[in-house]
């Protein structure tokens, strides 16, 4: 491991990489503050830039920097304006905004910055410990297990979607898998579902799909439902200091939430949003009675918990991506797509075949967190000014960057029409409360899922591999349980409720 760390240090501390980290964090922070542009949209927009860099280590470091920056930037706008730019920072606004209203905006931003820094850094330490162990286990896996593992990943994403949402998330996953079958597959060079259109021969571009699923609907939502005028302007920000007692009271919160957030982030499908809500809920439950009353009214613990958890979860979500090649969230799915475009296949072999990439990413996480802290503390008052960009200017530019992102990757105007078409469909799906991340994850995993399925079918001459490999069977059973358990439980709860009502 020490060797790897040294290699990572060597790669990550070159001038180019340092510039990438700093640039990524800055871009992420600034765009992340704009309401409606989450890390997924920002990373999707940055992909063409990252891909054209050519060096996979530099590209993923840039994108990872953008990712942390976006999460941090999102917390700035949730604290100052109660307008969370990112789903992962919604919980931050519960206590951050009340603090800002009490004139403690500076303190709130400082706590957010420090909590993010600790969460990210502790997360990176945990990643360093757990990723190598996980990847050595993963080397025992064959194509049959890979197939089963991806099924588990996809069903976990559906299972974590929440009550009443599982079927929708499943349908979206299947739809993503279907879209992934368009074009020529790798196993059989036979065009499928292209309807004779030449431009579809190479399949749908994932950048186009990512833009259409996330950036475009966000922008359209901003157009449809403009924020009410008269929402608070950022007031003067002063008094950044935290007292010693305050530091003492949030230290255990940060320690607990770093670890909890990290492990939630590792689970496929959970990610920063769930980690932050869960972190908030847990800290609220274990706080003393007096402190509990403070939650929601400007409690520093209530601010530190989600901020720590979401940053630790961001780091945690890199574990399945780097070790198994399975993205746990929409954002890491986009990162995976970018890596594949750069000819790097994340998975258990990554650590062995390209250790410089693996370790450089981990080391860059420390640098990224440090850069975020250094950049943000002094910049906080100025950063908030960007929120004042009028929407009339902002939206056309967001739309333009989405279009450019899709165009630059393919140099093909058909791609732009596909983008608009899919974007409209995605907006309709969002109206009806269908989750869109499963669709993109399904699309990205689809190719690999089918390849592994086809390989094991060929090796075992049919579907027999499921029975002959116990590991595969166990994994597939887990996948079934993941889908069935939550719906069974909600059904039982419903029956019970019904029973009580009848008794009355």
């Amino acid at each position: 491991m020490l060797e790897g760390i040294l290699l990572g240090l060597e790669t990550a501390f070159s001038i180019q990489m340092l510039l990438m980290v700093i640039g990524g964090c800055l871009i992420g922070t600034f765009i992340g503050m704009l309401p409606g542009l989450g890390p997924m949209s920002i990373i999707a927009i940055m992909i063409p830039v990252a891909i054209s860099i050519g060096d996979p280590a530099a590209a993923i470091i840039l994108l990872a920097g953008v990712y942390y920056g976006a999460i941090f930037g999102g917390s700035t706008s949730s604290i100052l304006l109660n307008a969370p730019g990112v789903a992962g920072t919604v919980a931050t606004s519960f206590d951050g905004y009340p603090m800002a209203k009490q004139g403690k905006a500076g303190k709130a931003l400082t706590i957010a910055a420090i909590a993010s820094f600790c969460g990210g850094t502790i997360g990176a330490v945990l990643l360093m410990i757990f990723a190598p162990a996980l990847s050595s286990v993963a080397l025992l896996f064959h194509s049959a297990e890979y197939f089963a593992l991806m099924v588990v990943g996809l069903s976990a994403i559906a299972a974590f979607a929440g009550t009443g949402q599982i079927a929708k998330a499943l349908l979206m996953t299947v739809l993503g898998l279907m879209l992934g079958t368009v074009g020529e597959g790798t196993m059989f060079s036979l065009p499928r579902f292209t309807m004779g259109v030449m431009d579809l021969q190479s399949g749908l571009s994932f950048v186009t799909l990512a833009m259409a699923m996330f950036a475009l609907p966000e922008a359209l939502f901003l157009v449809l439902n403009p924020p009410k005028p008269g929402s608070r302007k950022a007031e003067e920000i002063k008094n950044l200091r935290i007292t010693r007692e305050e530091a003492k009271s949030i230290a255990p919160v940060i320690a607990r939430q770093s670890i909890q957030g990290f492990f939630i982030g590792v689970l496929p499908g959970a990610g920063a949003t769930i980690a932050s809500f869960l972190g908030y809920a847990v800290e609220r439950n274990i706080a003393t009675k007096d402190e509990q009353d403070q939650f929601g009214k400007g409690s520093i613990k209530g601010l530190a918990a989600p901020e720590t958890a979401n940053n630790a979860a961001c780091t945690g979500s890199f574990v399945p991506l780097l070790t198994l090649g399975i993205p746990g969230s929409g954002t890491t799915a986009i990162l995976l797509g970018a890596l594949i475009a750069l000819n790097v296949t994340p998975g258990p072999r990554l650590m062995i075949d390209e250790p410089q990439i693996f370790w450089a990413v981990i080391i860059s996480m420390y640098i990224g967190n440090f850069v975020l802290l250094v950049l943000n503390l002094p910049l906080i008052p100025y950063i908030a000014k960007i929120l004042a960009v009028p929407r009339n200017y902002l939206i056309p530019y967001i739309l333009f960057f989405t279009l450019m992102g899709a165009y630059i990757g393919q140099n093909n105007a058909t791609e732009l029409l596909l983008l608009v078409g899919f974007g409209v469909c995605a907006t309709a799906l969002r109206f009806a409360d269908y989750p869109l991340a499963p669709l993109l994850i399904g699309f990205i995993l689809g190719g690999m899922l089918e390849d592994n399925f086809a390989r094991s079918m060929q090796l075992y001459d049919g579907i027999a591999f499921v029975g002959q490999r116990p590991m595969t069977m166990i994994l597939l059973a887990i996948a079934m349980l993941l889908i069935l358990l939550p719906s069974l439980r909600s059904r039982r709860a419903q029956m019970r409720r019904k029973g009580v009502a009848d008794g009355d």
Binding site: R192, N225, L419, A432
Partner: protein
């Protein structure tokens, strides 16, 4: 019937068409030697079509009960939102997609940015036009010179 079930119905139709293509039309041109393979190009799509039909039926028949959640925008009151602006912007995007190649990057992009702001209700010409021009030239320079991706700057008849 709520919107999510209407969408499930549409998706069911999509899955049926997809399934028809997978089950009945894809294997027609399959070479004889490939037919001896345990897996055909159509195997995976066949499985997907079945899964898709099942899940869309579950939503359509409302087997899984969940609380009704209203997303950021309530579609039932869609007309109360700025629907006209959104549709105009989408049309503008389509026009932009059609024009990008024939008209050239600089003209089509600056027009897109200017009209985008105007559609959203901006009337300050002296701000909109220069900002759009500067942004267009900046992005063109970035893409063409820094990233090295060719973008035709002017219409074809100008030799761009």
């Amino acid at each position: 019937m709520a919107l999510d079930r209407w969408i499930a119905l549409i998706l069911l139709g999509f899955c049926l068409i997809y399934g028809y293509a997978a089950w009945f039309t894809m294997d027609v041109g399959l070479a004889p030697f490939m037919k001896r393979n345990p897996i055909w190009p159509s195997t995976f799509p066949k499985i997907l079509s079945v899964l898709g039909i099942i899940t869309s039926l579950i939503i359509l028949l409302a087997v899984e009960k969940g609380e009704q959640k209203v997303s950021d925008i309530d579609y039932r009151r869609l007309h109360e939102y700025k629907l006209g602006q959104a549709i105009l912007l989408l049309c503008l995007m389509v026009v932009y997609a059609m024009c990008l190649r024939p008209v050239g990057f600089i003209f089509s992009t600056s027009t897109f940015l200017i009209f985008g702001s105007i559609i959203l209700g901006e009337r300050k010409w002296y701000f909109v036009v220069p900002i759009a021009l500067i942004a267009t030239l900046f992005v063109w320079y970035l893409v063409q010179e820094v990233l090295g991706i060719y973008m035709r700057p002017f219409p074809g008849w100008l030799g761009g």
